[in-house]
């Protein structure tokens, strides 16, 4: 541990007053808040960043800017890889546990290409990496970076591969070779791209450090399975003048994976709880190591890589390198990454109220669902693809999905009756039939009593809505 440092306050211990003291205190409102205290409260809460206070960026307040930056600096340094709009910030973590604050800078996922690939194959694979996406609650989830590995060990071939890759993609690049001569050849082809260099090891750190400084490129310190060596490399590279360091504690497949999970955890714990500056760098996870493990069928290795990635995302990996391009291997990662990087203090929800689809009239169906964003967007997509004319009441369930909202009593007969009243449902339609989610079937009787509306229990999954409406609407008089 670097000695002589004053014990730094963790983000949870910093009060708005601490921050307020380092603001201009002019209440100029340039940030959009009524006064500096309001800005301070939101800044410490992570809702603003320091540059959101324009006066702080002027010379007059440069001393405050510096102090405020020190006060609010995360225990895990933020490192930028790549350039331009697609540059990725990795690390920048404030806390060990998500619930203590929130996790910042979602883990970029890189997929590999190699210098052993024919040029056309390399280009096609990069296009596939850039093209992979998934629509999830109104967002497009994508892959973020390209790792170029030298399997040839030949400087010329690596240079050619990097040149080709740099020409076809704006994504951040990660150059992977432990041979400094090969690295230099590749790096020269992406000199202005700020690629991440993998990696400085006990054997090559000095030459890799020179390259990192010369090209202004961030550098991975790699010491698989040896945390003392990893800290030694971090200390040495820091002393060498390199500040943008990424740590690779090693991702071992199979039985060794247990040690990897614990190494990631101990490093992050050291950074966040013990203020260990040498552990306070972003962590690189490499599920791609599954392919260097036991010889198994392709599918078995992909399966392994999939769970390794999901577990590393859960245990502090700030950047991942993968090989599998199979949708089933990538989908859990893209979704889980999105999920754990949401702010735990705010459910991902949509505004409650009435939504209108198509051109409904007084005879059209009236449905109800919850305001959890995923539930809402799923129902919305199904209604649209079925071309239904209907009304949908979005009930306020505090952003909880149907099944959990029923279990946790965020969605009850009373709350549905209340939603009908609040949204003036009687004016929307001439009939008195409400279609409730199949997963809320248990509430049907009580809801009829509480609201005075007849209840139709809809499908458990909204993909069944088209068929349900086709067969059950208009409702036959069931009395």
């Amino acid at each position: 541990m670097v000695a002589g440092k004053q014990q730094k306050k963790s983000i949870k211990e910093i009060s708005p007053i601490d921050v307020y003291k380092l603001l201009p205190k002019t209440n100029c409102r340039e940030c959009g808040e009524a006064n500096c205290m309001a800005f301070a409260t939101k800044l410490v809460n992570g809702e603003y960043t320091i540059p959101d206070c324009p006066p702080l960026r002027t010379d007059e307040y440069s001393h405050l800017l510096q102090e405020l930056g020190d006060l609010l600096a995360p225990p895990v340094k933020a490192v930028t890889i790549g350039t331009g709009e697609r540059a990725a910030i990795i690390g920048g973590k404030y806390v060990l546990y998500r619930h203590d604050f929130t996790y910042h800078n979602p883990t970029p996922i890189a997929v590999d290409v190699t210098d052993g690939m024919p040029e056309q194959e390399l280009v096609e694979r990069i296009k596939a990496i850039e093209g992979f996406s998934y629509q999830y609650i109104g967002r497009t989830l994508t892959l973020d970076a390209v790792a170029i590995r030298s399997t040839s060990g030949d400087p010329g071939r690596f240079a050619a591969a990097v040149r080709t890759a740099a020409a076809v993609t704006e994504h951040p690049l990660i150059l992977c070779t432990l041979d400094p001569a090969v690295m230099e050849a590749g790096l020269s082809e992406a000199a202005d791209r700020r690629p991440l260099l993998y990696a400085a090891t006990e054997g090559n750190w000095q030459e890799m450090a020179e390259l990192s400084l010369r090209f202004g490129a961030p550098l991975v310190a790699s010491a698989p399975g040896d945390l003392a060596l990893l800290r030694s490399l971090a200390a040495t590279l820091t002393e060498y003048g390199i500040s943008d360091i990424v740590l690779d504690p090693g991702t071992f497949p199979d039985a060794g994976f247990a040690g990897s999970i614990m190494a990631f955890t101990m490093l992050r714990n050291a950074a966040c709880a013990s203020h260990d500056e040498l552990a306070g760098f972003p962590l690189l996870g490499t599920p791609i190591a599954a392919w260097a493990g036991e010889e198994l069928s392709r599918e078995a290795v992909q399966w392994k890589e999939t769970y390794m990635a999901a577990m590393l995302l859960s245990r502090h990996a700030d950047l991942l390198i993968m090989h599998s391009m199979e949708g089933w291997a990538l989908l859990p990662q893209l979704i889980w990454r999105f999920n754990i990087y949401t702010d735990p203090r705010k459910p991902v929800s949509v505004d409650p109220g009435v939504r209108t689809f198509g051109s409904p009239d007084g005879q059209s169906p009236l449905l109800i669902t919850t305001n959890y964003a995923l539930t809402y967007f799923t129902v919305e997509a199904d209604i649209k693809s079925a071309h239904l004319d209907c009304y949908l009441i979005v009930a306020d369930t505090s952003g909880i999905s149907v099944e959990s909202a029923v279990a946790g009593r965020y969605l009850t007969a009373e709350s549905m009756a209340e939603a009908l009243r609040e949204n003036n449902a009687e004016a929307l339609v001439d009939h008195r039939y409400l279609i409730i989610p199949g997963l809320a079937a248990r509430l049907s009787g009580e809801t009829e009593e509480a609201s005075g509306w007849r209840v139709l229990v809809g499908p458990k999954d909204s993909s069944g809505l088209a068929r349900f409406i086709g067969e059950r609407w208009p409702p036959k008089d069931e009395e």
Binding site: R98, S150, C176, W205, A228, E239, T265, W291
Partner: protein, 403 residues
């Protein structure tokens, strides 16, 4: 400012003088006074010599690795998670051939090789007492036994290595088949005879009907230390909790306290249960939501509960369970999607596997699962995590490996 002060003030003067003086042999200073002490500043300039490096000096770059150690934070926690035994052998009044102990953790899950949980998290596999609609990938493995809970249980144990069996008494649901508590207890007895692992008995979710069913089952399976899945605050409201808790106490069973992602509710329910049973007879279900549908809520509530318990909150010092089969509620687990996302036959088990493993890292102590591949993976990883390789793993190099 006099000359002396100017010299002192200008940090850039040294190098500039140096540049001026390069190649000069001799220098005459006019109108210049100097104290002896100030000479030090100029000594390195080296009159008449070749120019030496000037301040600010470039940092000396290390040529040797600076050796550092790593000592993991020795954080210890005042709290311990209670140990709960599920199932009872003959000598303890039951008929089980094997029993399991869950809980006992003294640190966040798998955070350090020095503070591992004392027991590997066991895996229970699901059996339903009626033919419910299951995703194809789940049904395939058990198609021959779905109408016979006893055979299904046997297959779970013998073929898939289940360490417990969960019997879901779905057919008791008044909205489905409304089977009687007596019929439900018959089913439990059949399964108890078919397998000798501990049982978890699940109800239909109706607080009144479940109470009747659980009371009957508790009596018929007296002494077996079943895990009754579950009791809720809804039961407290329906005034049925007391009966179930008393039946569990009187017949030696364990209660699973289910709450919906809310720790205050979990604590409140536990307090009500303490009126009837020792805390060693209570396990918590804090709710498992499917990946993509709110798993992050489950993950975070489990991390929060575990940390609070370890910090000393006695009302949360209970082992937790995850119904990881709930992963199949996600469409991504069962829907036919664009081929780019792969066949659902593999997406489904991947979903259940990831769901369970993520909650394993959040501290869950026992898993209810269904797909054999997910169970197999959980078993492998659990074994590895319980014996982390501290001796160092074989050297590997993914960076240059041809795949």
């Amino acid at each position: 400012m006099n000359e002396k002060e100017k010299i002192r003030a200008g940090p850039g003067l040294g190098p500039r003088l140096l540049a001026l003086l390069s190649g000069v042999d001799r220098l005459e200073l006019e109108h210049f006074e100097m104290e002896i002490g100030d000479l030090e500043i100029f000594v390195p300039v080296g009159f008449g010599e070749r120019p030496a490096p000037a301040a600010p000096v470039q940092p000396v770059r290390p040529t040797e690795l600076i050796r550092e150690g790593f000592s993991p934070a020795a954080g210890t926690y005042p709290g311990v998670i209670r140990e709960v035994t599920l199932g009872a052998a003959k000598k303890d009044g039951g008929s089980r051939g094997s029993t399991v102990v869950i809980g006992g953790s003294t640190a966040p899950a798998f955070s350090s090789p020095d503070r591992l949980p004392p027991h590997p998290p066991p895996i229970a596999m699901d059996v339903f007492d009626m033919d419910i609609s299951l995703p194809k990938a789940l049904k395939a493995a058990v198609a021959d036994v779905v109408n016979d809970p006893a055979e299904w249980a046997r297959m779970n144990v013998d073929r898939f290595g289940a360490e417990l069996v969960t019997v879901h008494l779905m057919s008791t649901d008044p909205l489905i088949a409304d089977r009687s508590p007596r019929e439900a207890a018959d089913t439990v007895e059949e399964v108890l005879q078919a397998v000798d692992v501990p049982l978890i008995v699940g109800g239909c979710g109706d607080p009144k009907k479940d109470a009747e069913v659980f009371t009957e089952v508790a009596e018929r399976a007296s002494g077996e230390r079943l895990l009754i899945n579950s009791v809720t605050l809804d039961m407290a409201e329906a005034k049925t909790l007391e009966g179930v808790a008393a039946a569990a106490r009187d017949h030696g069973h364990v209660l699973l306290a289910f709450t919906g992602l809310e720790l205050n509710s979990a604590k409140e329910l536990n307090r009500r249960l303490y009126e009837f049973l020792p805390p060693e007879d209570v396990v918590m279900d804090l709710t498992t939501v499917a990946l993509g549908y709110g798993l992050e809520y489950s993950f975070t509530i489990h991390e929060r509960a575990r940390l609070a318990a370890l910090m000393g909150d006695a009302e949360l010092q209970h082992p937790t369970i995850s119904a990881s089969t709930n992963a199949w509620a996600a469409r991504e687990a069962w829907l036919n999607m664009d081929p780019v996302y792969g066949p659902r036959e593999i997406r489904g088990p991947v979903w259940e596997t990831c769901n369970a493993l993520i909650l394993l890292l959040a501290g869950v102590d026992i898993f209810m699962m269904m797909h054999p591949a997910a169970v197999r993976t959980m078993r492998d990883i659990r074994t590895w995590l319980m014996q982390p390789d501290t001796a160092g793993s074989p050297r590997y190099d993914w960076a240059s490996t041809r795949i």
